[in-house]
Symmetry: C2
């Protein structure tokens, strides 16, 4: 009766997020930002996608891989966690949160299916929006989103209700922003507006550096205003 | 880079469905039917539930345990499956379906949290509606439903769009129905109206037997009318 179950990744995310720092805590902060779902070699069968083009949204079940690497899942789980949305000091039961620190470190995200690329050197690729996952994240399952069973617009939001609005004003000189490919500019501003600082750090002097899509973004935050100081192509730095 | 991941059940469902036959293919067919989420011994910490009462809906990630027992997952997956909603003859890609026959046999269900029973001989229990799962199903994760990221009422329904309505008319003599506890009568009628036959079997002479909540339900189906022939307490039969 233990019912242990070993999962194998069926795909991985290829995204602009190469570091944990800067990944939006909830999806939807980076509108227009696309990620690629690249199937693992045993799962590159185009037949397995038949009919998928009829859906607009998908579910992804994936692994909080950093938590697993750090051994903060499994037997090391804690019943109480500190959601960043509550300032990082209030403790909530793990089942009442979407925290990565949980017995089975599984994540769940609904994403918009933008298009299906049927052929590539890596097999078929699903291009999706809203998958704000660390580059390389293992995906264990992909399911169609069925609105008549999955959508409950009137569901109660719990403690997240009062904490949704902690947006920053973002100041970024156009000549800096233009260093980014055009399709990544608006998503970056969305991510920055969502306040990427861990917990509620509040040091106006501190210069933060965030990796995003092969660029290094430097910024400072003071009085709810985030000022971008520099945007550099990481390849050029190295 | 294999990222295999071994899950351990955190809880199990205690439900009225002791056989696969009769379990609604999608949730919502058995309104008012409650199931219990009973935590496994290492996870019976009431702290882990703190804040959960503020949510109306939960996600469950669980195992299609029969598929796993029968070895129809993992390396034995097939790229194409035959969804019962399409009559059982049309083949669709596994990623375009919620079929249990998938590489990692994980299920995903949103359920309504009816109430939290903080104490019982088996620790805290979550009473939920809409978890139409086989009794004993292992649950690997429980997450709060967050409407502003999880609810997409306008998502496209794909091929399931055209196939939702295959309801039967149900005829059941009141003296039969009254053999059931009152709270199970309406749910049973909902399940029967959803047509519990596997695939599209169509034999008007055949008497089907279905286990439900400790009762054996016998019925026949002819011309879209399901007639209940008998309802027997299984304990009395044995």
């Amino acid at each position: 009766m233990t019912s242990e179950y070993t999962l194998r990744p069926v795909a991985r995310i290829r995204s602009d997020f190469t570091q944990k720092f800067g990944i939006p805590r909830q999806s939807g902060m980076a509108p227009g930002l696309e990620s690629a779902i690249v199937f693992e070699p045993p799962y590159r069968d185009p037949n397995a996608l038949r009919g998928l083009e009829e859906y607009s949204h998908l579910w992804l079940i994936w692994q909080f891989s950093q938590v697993v690497e750090e051994g903060q899942d499994g037997e090391n789980w804690r019943p109480l966690v500190r959601p960043p949305r509550l300032g990082g000091n209030t403790r909530m039961g793990v089942w009442a949160t979407r925290s990565p620190f949980r017995p089975n470190a599984l994540g769940l995200s609904s994403v918009r299916l933008v298009r299906i690329q049927h052929q590539s050197p890596d097999g078929p690729i699903l291009w999706v929006e809203g998958a704000d996952l660390l580059d390389g994240t293992p995906i264990y399952d992909i399911k169609p989103y069925l609105p008549y069973v999955d959508s409950h617009p009137d569901a109660r939001e719990g403690f997240t209700r009062d904490t949704k609005e902690y947006a920053l004003e973002v100041e970024c000189a156009p000549e800096l922003l233009e260093r980014l490919p055009e399709e990544k500019r608006k998503p970056l501003l969305g991510i920055l507006a969502g306040d990427p600082r861990p917990g509620y750090q509040d040091d106006p002097q501190r210069v933060y550096g965030m990796a995003f899509g092969g660029y290094e973004i430097q910024f400072r935050i003071q009085d709810k205003i985030l000022t971008v100081l520099d945007i550099r192509n990481e390849k050029k730095i190295r």
